[in-house]
């Protein structure tokens, strides 16, 4: 009997040792998922200034721009891949990136000239074929791409010559260049996509090349020494998954990582007290707003919406954000195409007495309001403050808080009276904010407030189908002003995008949509 026990224990120890040692090799991804097998294994955390580690609170979903639609994956794809166009953060204009130039031969035809002599990381030439291949794959229903809708207006894509592609749209599409500047419209290597799975083996033209991915743990990139726009100074970039933001901040403090982004409001003080980091802040494109469930009878009463808007002191809320919010009534924020400063104060101003009078006049106090909120940091804060303010005005408000997935479903099903939503707006275009969130076409999916205003719809469609950008600005402002006057939503604040980087490095480019580029980052 004793022998048996010792044998069992011995076997268990052996099992443990094999498990642990196989774990080490498994922490490098399987061979077909990596190019690492051709290289010398390297120590992950090198202290060299050329290795730069970014702590991300979640892992990438994958690294194919076609098949992903989350900001963490985009942080990697934006460094490995490039798009035809890109928005200039300073001028807000869209400029060519992989494209050389474009022209509209008619309202529905876009002839795009591509830059010459660029190669993908696998040596495949970047050309019109690659563009056609990428866009056809993105819009193919069989691909089930999360952002296939970006190219929904596209009718045909034709290769004119090696470096010219012609795209015809079904109708004039004003936000087309903005759509092409979206992270999900980045150009992939056709050869690589046919041979490998881009989700785990991304191959693009960008400043960094993919090295390896250990799901749940890290992604490693290396400098693309042959990058057409000059090789980056950082030789190695690591995305390290650190789910707990306070742990990530501790790592930044001890130098285990060099960079974090999306700094939470409540951690700003701690970060500001650290002397080895620089905090970057920039006014951004994200907007956070209260929306009504417009399908409910109570919410269709304009006086009800006015009373709610008048009861909410947005200035008081923004003052609680430790400087991470910009106050404006405009739904289209200051950093978004289509913004006009005249919209800043166009909304119903805070006026508690006026709100109380409306509540009393219409007997709103008797109708309980269900305030739905996702249990994410700033949303809960918003809900609590707004509940207190509405209660002060005489409303009866019950908060229902739920985790993200349940929240998205409940909001889509319309099971609430008022809720908070946000939109980060990657393209920075006003149409890309108003159409998905407020156009009646998208009731049942992304228009969670179920706002349905035919006049407004018409303006949004015009903003999308007008090619002249100046004209689009005017139309977008009209639509924006219309929904503000209508109290369709009450804007709580516009986000400030943030990042914190080790002082030994400089050159970070932080864009208003929260994306950042490490291409020009250099160590001391």
């Amino acid at each position: 009997m004793k022998k048996n026990v010792w044998l069992t224990l011995l076997l268990l120890v052996l099992l443990f040792l094999t498990a642990c040692s196989s774990g080490e090799s498994a922490s490098a991804p399987p061979k077909e998922n990596s190019k690492e097998d051709t290289k010398e294994p390297e120590k992950a955390e090198s202290t060299s200034n050329e290795t730069f580690t970014y702590a991300s609170t979640s892992d990438v979903v994958g690294m194919s721009p076609i098949l992903t639609n989350d900001s963490v994956s985009a942080n990697i794809t934006e460094h490995v891949f490039e798009k035809l166009f890109e928005r200039n953060d300073d001028t807000k204009e869209i400029e060519p990136r992989l494209a050389e130039s474009f022209e509209n031969t008619d309202e529905n035809t876009w002839v795009i000239k591509l830059k010459e002599g660029i190669k993908f990381h696998d040596g495949t030439p970047f050309n019109a074929e690659a563009v056609k291949y990428t866009f056809d794959k993105l819009r193919d229903p069989a691909t089930a791409a999360p952002r296939a809708s970006l190219l929904e207006p596209v009718d045909t894509i034709t290769v004119i010559d090696e470096n010219t592609v012609e795209i015809k749209t079904k109708y004039p599409y004003g936000a087309f260049l903005a759509a092409l500047s979206h992270s999900n419209a980045a150009i992939v290597s056709p050869t690589a996509d046919k041979e490998l799975d881009l989700m785990s083996n991304p191959v693009g033209t960008g400043p960094f090349k993919f090295v390896s991915w250990t799901p749940g743990d890290r992604v490693e990139l290396e400098a693309n020494e042959e990058y057409w726009d000059g090789a980056p100074a950082l030789k190695k970039v690591i995305l390290k998954v650190v789910p707990e933001i306070s742990t990530a901040i501790s790592m930044l403090q001890t130098g285990e990582v060099q960079f974090i982004d999306n700094l939470p409001t409540e951690q700003i003080e701690r970060l500001e007290a650290m002397d080895n980091i620089n905090i970057e802040k920039k006014e951004g494109t994200p907007v956070y707003y209260l929306t009504f469930n417009h399908s409910k009878e109570m919410n269709q009463d304009p006086e009800f919406r006015e009373a709610v808007a008048a009861a909410i002191d947005r200035d008081a809320f923004v003052s609680k954000l430790n400087g991470l919010g910009v106050r404006s009534d405009s739904v289209i924020g200051p950093e978004v195409f289509g913004y006009d400063a005249s919209a800043d104060n166009a909304g119903t101003p805070y006026d508690l007495e006026a709100a109380k009078a409306l509540v009393q006049k219409n007997g709103y106090a008797d109708k309980p309001i269900k305030l739905l909120t996702a249990n994410r940091a700033n949303f809960v804060l918003m809900a609590e403050i707004v509940q207190a303010q509405l209660t002060e005005a005489g409303f009866k408000v019950d908060i229902e808080s739920m985790e993200w997935a349940t929240f998205l479903d409940t909001a889509r099903a319309g099971d609430y009276d008022i809720t908070f939503l946000s939109w980060s707006n990657v393209t920075g275009d006003g149409s890309e904010l108003l159409y998905p969130n407020f156009h009646s076409d998208n009731i049942g999916s992304s228009n969670r407030g179920q706002y349905n205003n035919p006049e407004f719809d018409e303006l949004v469609v015009q903003s999308r189908t007008t090619i002249d950008q100046e004209e689009r600005k005017v139309i977008l402002n009209q639509a924006n002003q219309m929904m503000i006057k209508d109290n369709a939503a009450v804007v709580m604040y516009h986000g400030i995008v943030t990042a914190a980087m080790d002082k030994a490095y400089s050159g970070l480019i932080l864009a208003p949509n929260g994306k950042w580029s490490l291409k020009d980052v250099t160590g001391e």
Binding site: N4, A144, M199, P243, E244, S250, E403, A405, L408
Partner: protein
């Protein structure tokens, strides 16, 4: 013993079948649509429809479950909705980290727990006993995430003796051991406290037994009385608690792995639940269940060694 193992193996199959049904149906009923989580808040209706179709979510429940069981029986546990990675592959990468963490925590728990329990029983009602039981009570009461954050601040940020997080180095290297210390203490403290309390009360009971008195009367050395006659007999309930605590530890890995940025199965499970990644949730729950059954089987085998009167044949 072979019979015991075979019997448990057969029970395990039915157990896993039951668990898989429970998990599958609760995930199915739970609010939150996996397609929305894949498409994100920006996805349009047509995007969502295409994703649902692609993931097979439009099929009736019984078809989906049947397909899952059929594939699982052939060793195919499906693919993640989110990353499209094979579930078995995702788990194989993470499991060694969770196992390392669980075993290291168990070592912390057993060593501290038994020593504390022993001291406290042998110095019954002394200041040593009172302080040990007080610490044990505190150990049970302190939440994991708080202890973890505190240890990081003291030992990693202020003293800089140990790294903040990660578990990427091999466990037999100095770096690897350094990485394991804080998470193992964080996770092991609660179990250590429970084991200490059990060891103490069990020792106190055995120490009063007739055969211990007889041993002393026969002039056996006190060291032998404690190590040979008392400790071994007091260990049966302690081993039971250790086995049960292993399950508790596996649950605790969820928090500990998150706080210490460890890429383990606990974190995979909680992240997958949040993202409604059903195949991933299924895979990790089944693994944890299997592990729990195996550990309890080991506990049953260890009983026979400690108390030869126990036999399964």
């Amino acid at each position: 013993m072979i019979a015991l193992i075979v019997r448990r193996g057969i029970q395990l199959v039915f157990l896993l079948l039951g668990i898989s049904f429970l998990v599958f149906s609760s995930m199915y009923i739970a609010p939150g649509d996996p397609a929305t989580m894949v498409g994100g808040p920006t996805a349009t209706e047509s995007d969502l429809e295409a994703i649902s179709e692609n993931l097979g979510l439009n099929d009736p429940f019984i078809v989906q479950y049947g397909r899952y069981v059929k594939n699982a029986a052939q060793g195919d546990f499906g693919y993640s909705y989110q990353t499209r990675q094979a579930v078995s592959e995702a788990i194989v990468v993470r499991f060694p980290n969770t196992l390392k963490l669980a075993i290291a925590s168990m070592i912390v728990a057993v060593v501290i727990g038994i020593i504390a329990g022993l001291i406290s029983a042998l110095r019954h009602n002394s200041w040593l006993d009172v302080s040990t039981t007080t610490f044990a009570l505190a150990g049970i009461s302190i939440p994991n995430f708080w202890l973890g954050a505190l240890l990081i601040l003291v030992f990693a940020v202020n003293l800089q003796w140990l790294p903040v997080g990660g578990l990427s180095e091999p466990f037999y290297t100095v770096e690897g051991i350094k990485q394991l210390i804080l998470p193992a203490i964080t996770l092991g403290t609660g179990s250590a406290a429970m084991i200490a309390r059990m060891a103490r009360s069990s020792m106190l009971e055995v120490i009063k037994a007739d055969y211990v008195r007889t041993a002393r009367a026969k002039g056996v050395k006190e060291r032998n009385v404690i190590w040979v006659h008392t400790l071994k007999n007091a260990m049966i309930p302690v081993i039971t608690v250790i086995g049960l605590n292993f399950g508790f530890l596996l649950g605790g890995t969820i928090i500990t792995e998150k706080v210490f940025a460890i890429n383990g199965v606990g974190r995979l499970m909680i992240d997958s639940i949040a993202m409604r990644d059903f195949p991933m949730v299924q895979g990790s729950v089944l693994l944890v269940a299997t592990l729990f059954v195996v550990v309890n089987l080991i506990v049953d085998i260890v009983y026979t060694y400690i108390d030869p009167r126990i036999s399964y044949d």
